[in-house]
Symmetry: none
Subunit: 194 residues, 4 copies
């Protein structure tokens, strides 16, 4: 039906516009009018398709996050050994500079989730998804404690992205060797501990 199709397309345009604006202006500064204008739609449509601005923002943010998470699997699948994995992780810092739309949207959403239980659940799911994918790959490459390592590496990537926005010197070259040290294989990982 043309009617239903249109409805779906309108919804999608609103979600896309909202995601853009979250990154540009910040979560709390996104207004219904701005979203409608960016989407080229009538202002009344936002509340026609979404219960509230918060609902629109949450759905828009989670949609982007899930999309990014889904892209991670194939990306890690192409990695042959631990060295290539460290390289891939470091390289992703160049893609997500901290000021790009995706990076900003992630952090904005983390913070918004701090204050919205429902969103918190959604974001937690995305994080778990990311971590599972990474942990699986780590296990396949023989890295010790793949679960914890994946958790810490995932969080570290977010932190690096966050600080990169303020400090461009946090380059892939600086990060690569440190990441590599965390990718220790069974039986040898404690030899230099103490």
């Amino acid at each position: 039906m043309t009617s239903a199709q249109r409805g779906h397309e309108v919804r999608q345009r609103l979600l896309d516009a909202a995601a853009e604006l979250i990154a540009e202006r910040g979560w709390a500064a996104v207004s219904t009018r701005a979203v409608a204008e960016r989407a080229g739609l009538a202002s009344g449509l936002v509340h026609y398709h979404f219960a509230s601005v918060q609902a629109l923002l949450s759905q828009a943010a989670l949609a982007v996050m899930h999309r990014v998470a889904a892209e991670t699997g194939p990306l890690l699948a192409g990695v042959g050994d631990r060295s290539e994995l460290a390289e891939a992780l470091a390289a992703s810092l160049d893609a997500y500079s901290g000021t790009d739309p995706v990076s900003v949207l992630f952090v904005e959403t983390y913070l918004a989730a701090t204050r919205d239980p429902e969103l918190r659940t959604g974001v937690a799911e995305v994080i778990v998804q990311f971590r599972a994918v990474l942990a699986t790959r780590l296990a396949e490459l023989g890295v010790v404690e793949p679960e914890s390592t994946a958790a810490v590496l995932g969080a570290a990537m977010d932190g690096l992205v966050l600080q990169r926005a303020l400090d461009p010197k946090l380059s892939a070259d600086a990060v690569r060797p440190v990441i590599r040290r965390t990718l220790v294989t069974t039986g040898r990982q404690e030899e230099d501990g103490r």
Copy 2:
């Protein structure tokens, strides 16, 4: 002059109230009214002492960040070896749970700095300060590439704090061993790479 003293005290109360509210409500949701009310002061005082809400928030946030940064030095000085250092870093995750005022304020400020060049400069200074303190300690403990390691560890701590707000399972116990692996000493750090 009592007049000037009072002025200074009022200024401080506004800064304290603003810092609290940044953590509670988020940077963009802090209003002059809320700050004045929290500080128990007349609403007009905010703009008497500060040029704008943004100026108040920036100063309040940076004051807290500098205070926390200043506490890091003594804390690291009490650490005897790499193992204790890993323990101290992991333990700080219990202090900064991701939902506590200081943690949230840090992330809120990182994001705000993305959109305010002046604040960006101030935040960058704090990050550099943190990193220098940590790098110095790492060097003293013989850790390789102390600068890069400090940078990555600092960023990772922020990322861990960020995700901890959404996932309490990211415990000190899970983090400690991974951190320890990054604290490699000279001559042996690459033996298990590859």
Copy 3:
């Protein structure tokens, strides 16, 4: 659409209220609240229909000025000779006493135009329109230098209106003979100069 019709009517009521208040309180003292209250409308409507208070005031003032300018043509068309023209101009001083809404609005708008380039353009158009109408009539009556004369007479009328507000003695009777002297016909206008 009734919706659009209502919108137009509301807009008009805001414009009318604004024009009244410019005259009563002065350009800079017209507030959104006062306009909405005078128009009997909700306060939010001002900024729904107009981008800013300045925009509302400018549009309101120019609408009145254009209306007055449009009335001048027919008025001058009914004048038979120079004597009647002088009489008509002098008589208009009784209509525009300097304290009536239209007079005050004109002067307020002149001043506001000094500080607003866009308004300046609009006001200049009105002045040109006035002058053209008067110059045409002067030319038809054989008055020398119709353009300059119209310009000076138009400006003089504004000045007289301005001072009449402060000095009611500036009556039509006092003004009439002086105006008449400016309405000189070809070939003889310089005979008593020197």
Copy 4:
């Protein structure tokens, strides 16, 4: 006494600053803080020396107007005949362009006087003073109806200044011949009327 002298000087600096700001920003937009800042004085001083902002503005404006009025006498005294008078009046349009501080201050004050009875009285005095000086000179030069003529010429000058701000084409050259026509001497002024 140094104390009294200082007080007088401070008063004068406030008046000067206020006059500047009336022209720059408009009567209603002059704030005590702005005046104090412009004068380089503490903000509390305004209300120490003046009962209210309105009182300060009125006194400041009238002081300037009286100063300008006082300069007119000597200026007209140097005029030898009607032609030179017309030239002097036309030339003053170049001095008072309509956007210069003095011109704007005059019009601002006229308008403010519309709404302040006390100020109205003061401004009326200045106008009467201007008119008397001009009328005396006109009488000496044999111009008919010197009182009315002076009144109309004075008002016309204000109107010309007012419109000059919006229309630079209202030049001295365009105005001169029209003014000259109003300066008719006894017995011949009606010969070309009709």
